[in-house]
Symmetry: C2
Subunit: 139 residues, 2 copies
């Protein structure tokens, strides 16, 4: 088992009306608002080809999460049994990466307006990928 560490440099940040964790829904499809994704100047070239209507997977670094948690009660419900974090979408986990499926509403030179996004204002963005269509030749 490798014990190497790797370094993540955020490619941008979320701008959202959601300012506090306690205001954020648990998942995007539970009433999350639209948000702007601002790309850092050195990564803007990576947006070429993204257009309104695209379906993307946004990867974020959940910077307020606890990284020493391995088991949780799902959705914070004490009546549910302790479950491994890898069997849940808990933000608390060794590498707190958020996965968010969004639709693109608007594209500017260095920003994307997307919906829905449950990540709060200031959350670092670490990667963006297209949601895969069914046909590999269309990828």
């Amino acid at each position: 088992m490798s014990s190497l560490l790797y370094t993540i440099e955020p490619i941008g940040a979320v701008h959202s009306a959601l300012k506090r964790l306690e205001d954020a829904p648990m998942q995007g499809d539970e009433g999350a608002p639209e948000a702007w994704l601002e790309l850092a100047p050195q990564t803007v070239q990576g947006l070429t080809g993204i257009k309104p209507g695209d379906e993307l997977i946004v990867l974020t670094w959940l910077h307020l999460a606890q990284r020493d948690v391995l088991q949780v009660h799902p959705r914070g419900d004490p009546n549910r049994p302790l479950t491994g974090v890898f069997a849940t979408r808990s933000p608390d986990r060794p590498n707190p990466i958020g996965l968010h499926r969004v639709s693109v509403l608007e594209v500017t030179e260095n920003m994307l307006r997307v919906t829905p996004l449950e990540a709060i204002d200031g959350t670092p963005i670490i990667d963006i990928k297209p949601a895969l269509a069914g046909n590999p030749s269309d990828r």
Copy 2:
């Protein structure tokens, strides 16, 4: 825009019959084999609750990727126009995180046998999440 860096510590590694990048399909659903995911001793507790039949999203660190690439010809086809890496699934990108949807075939104390997985032998695993069902109350 924050310029903080974050550190990823792999939670485990892939064991696969795919030993070389040139043998790996571009996506799991393009003929990838099954593979074993071995968890590091300090993260094994996070597997509690995962069982055969579960659908998971495995996040890997594509350790052989180039991190200074921002535009590529999709699927390596020079006839396709240069496209931003965030509009493609290219492994070459600033933070080379792989996303793989797999089914669980077998669970041991510290390993999961899953299929299909296009990541090569030795690829670091950085997170595992359940693929979300449609009904939030089931999450």
